[in-house]
């Protein structure tokens, strides 16, 4: 008898516990939490981590200087773009958006055209012959 009562109580408790949300209309959230990384933040984080890896690989002498500069420039551009996208997603117009867009576009174009300075990694304006940051000849131009 006790067994029967005990068993029924367990069964009842379990059923009530499981069914309560449906019957009483209790809802679990299905939204993203404020503390979660948003897509843009995740992108930013990946870009920053990539930068860190490049720095580390260079320090550990696993990357050639030339590769280091070009990778660094590439990731810096990506990190900037990710930062920008993140700012925009958060609704704050942290930096002058148009200026930044223009700058990113310039860096990207610079990367395509090979206007990244080999010596310091600075991304120069398309068509530059000398690096605006350090004065060295820019590779693409110098090669001509």
């Amino acid at each position: 008898m006790t067994l029967f009562v005990g068993g029924s109580l367990v069964a009842l408790a379990v059923v009530l516990f499981v069914l309560q949300p449906v019957v009483k209309g209790l809802h679990a959230s299905l939204e993203r939490d404020v503390f979660e990384l948003t897509d843009t933040e995740a992108r930013k984080r990946v870009a920053l981590l990539a930068l860190r890896d490049v720095e580390y690989d260079f320090l550990a002498e696993k990357l050639d200087e030339h590769d280091y500069h070009s990778l660094k420039a590439e990731f810096t551009a990506e990190a900037l773009a990710a930062l920008e996208a993140d700012e925009r997603a958060q609704g704050g117009a942290g930096l002058g958006e148009d200026d930044l867009e223009a700058e990113i576009a310039q860096i990207r174009a610079g990367l395509r055209e090979g206007c990244v300075c080999d010596a310091c990694g600075f991304s120069n304006q398309v068509g530059s012959r000398f690096c605006s940051a350090c004065g060295q000849a820019v590779a693409a131009e110098a090669a001509r």
């Binding site: 068993g7 499981v18 949300p21 449906v22 809802h27 993203r32 995740a42 696993k62 990357l63």
Partner: protein, 686 residues
Amino acid sequence: MIILGEFALWIALPVAVWGMALGFMGGRTQRGDLVLSAERGIYAVFFLLILASLGVSAAFLGDKFEYWYVASYSNRELELFYKVTGLWAGQRGSLLFWALILGFFSSICVFQNRDKNREFMPYVAGVLQGVLLFFIIVLLFADVNPFERLAFTPANGQGLNPQLQNYWMTIHPPTLYLGFTAFTIPFAFAVAALLNGRLDARWIQLTRRWILTSWLFLSIGIIFGMRWAYEELGWGGYWFWDPVENASLLPWLTATAFLHSIQIQEKRGMLRVWNMSLVLLTFLLTIFATFLTRSGLIDSVHSFAQELKIAYIFLGFMGSLLAGCVVLILYRLPKLRSDNRIESFLSRESAFLFNNLMLLGFAFAVFWGTIFPLVAEGVTGEKISVGPPFFEKVNFPIGLVLLALAGIGPAIAWRRATKRNLKKNFTIPMGVLLAVGTGLWVTGARHPLALVTWSLCAFVLTIIGIEFWKGTRARARIEGEGYALALMHLVARDRRRWGGYIVHVAMVMIYFAFAGAAYYVEERFHVLPGDTVEVRSPFGHTYKLTYEGLSVSLGKGQRNLLWQAIATVSVQQDGKQKPLMTTEKRMYVTGDLPMTEVGIRSSVREDLYLILSALDDMEGAVRADSNAQGIDLQVLIKPLISWIWYGGIMLAVGTFVALWPSVDRRRVALEGRTETASQPAMAAAE
């Protein structure tokens, strides 16, 4: 309590069905109430599984031999400790125990994510509940119910196999089960990602800790099993490619591959399909491992035929999982494609890919070697056994390539490496490799496999050492810190990288020990009391062993013991007296043949391993006849074997470093912001 336990198992069935259905429905319709109910279902099933397990334990502790499971794995004389661990001593209890651990992990997972990662949770709850449901179905309908009653109540049980009455054996299976079941969580998140379409690296980041936890438990579970075999099986080996061992190695291999390839997805967004396939494969292999070890399949296809029901249920489950996941992956294929390519053949990405291929090749060879005898027996009816030679021939070369990659990988840059910096990074390690190889050759180590393995070990260690050194030096310079502090901060800033490298060092230690096998010494002597034998160690020293005599005790000491014959041996190493050693024969009430307990003396260099292989006159010895003291004594010298266990500890340390949670700075910052924002409001309210 026992009947309540049985009852709980039956209630768990509809609850699991309900929970699974609501999880998937809630995810599809985005209804929060359904999802909450599904999540509560997980807690409820866990609670019911606890009741069921307590029921089984109560049956063990109360010597309820009317239950088939208790009667088969216990008896009145069994020590209390083994009655408690009886829950996982046999197939039926193990399946329940497996479900119990899965219920535990599932509940932790649901609780952890009660207010985050909500996009994933409906499907995660559905998948977890589905797997739980599968085990409940097996328990209830596959003739393996631990609560099954016999038609009569035997006066006593059959007792536990004496070989299982060992400390390692009580912790080895649970550790492996923890590893197997923990992998269900990454699998559930992967399926959830396929269903909700969020196919970036998010599901990987969320489950990284689970993956590492699972991997850690699998690794130490395997090592515990090796330790048990080494201590208890009494022949001095720790691995013999037996199907049960292989079954635990398979998911470990694919999980290791997965741990490496997910890094490429996180960093480069590549290999998405590959990672999905690996997570599915690993999960299937954990189920396969239970299937293989707990369905009676391995003994023989014929004994297996008597347990067709459980086999059909397992095969059906694995088949439908495979089909379901393949369909899902195909459906999501367009979204799974990556826009990145591996830029250079000389890059860490390609080293990782190569490592993946090697690990999978290894796994395939093990799988085939395990399954082939069963297939062959099924087809031809003849029993063929695939022994260690097959596995060694195929897997030794792959193993060596993997060892080399453990060093090559860390020394190559992501994305691009050039010949010039490869030369720079590999000159010193290659030099060390050659120097160690030559040194060993000169000192007389000529076994080719050992020579190659040890040289490669030196190569990998050098690379990892240089990595640590360069990182510390750079940090010390940049931050102006002392070297010790710089090293600590270095590791703290990128625990995954450095934890991983520590695990590589652990693998080196284990390989180092494996190669010692080339220099095992094994001799067998017939000795009478007072006889002295000499054995030479490969390290050059000599052991003088004097057999002091046999002492027999009847039915004393451990319960279930009929008699125990202890041979005492005094040991001199190069003339220096060492502590006495003993090796035993034990006869248990429950067995027909006496079991051997070996004597082991471990040191950093080598183990001295004594086996009492035979008594000249067993009956005489038991009667304490002084003329029946002659024995066969096997003396084994096992160089470097302790390094396997040291490696295991190192592996755990490395994994802990990688697992250790870091402070979520972002969360702290966000919380700070909400707090400061709410303060003025509160002040205003006051």
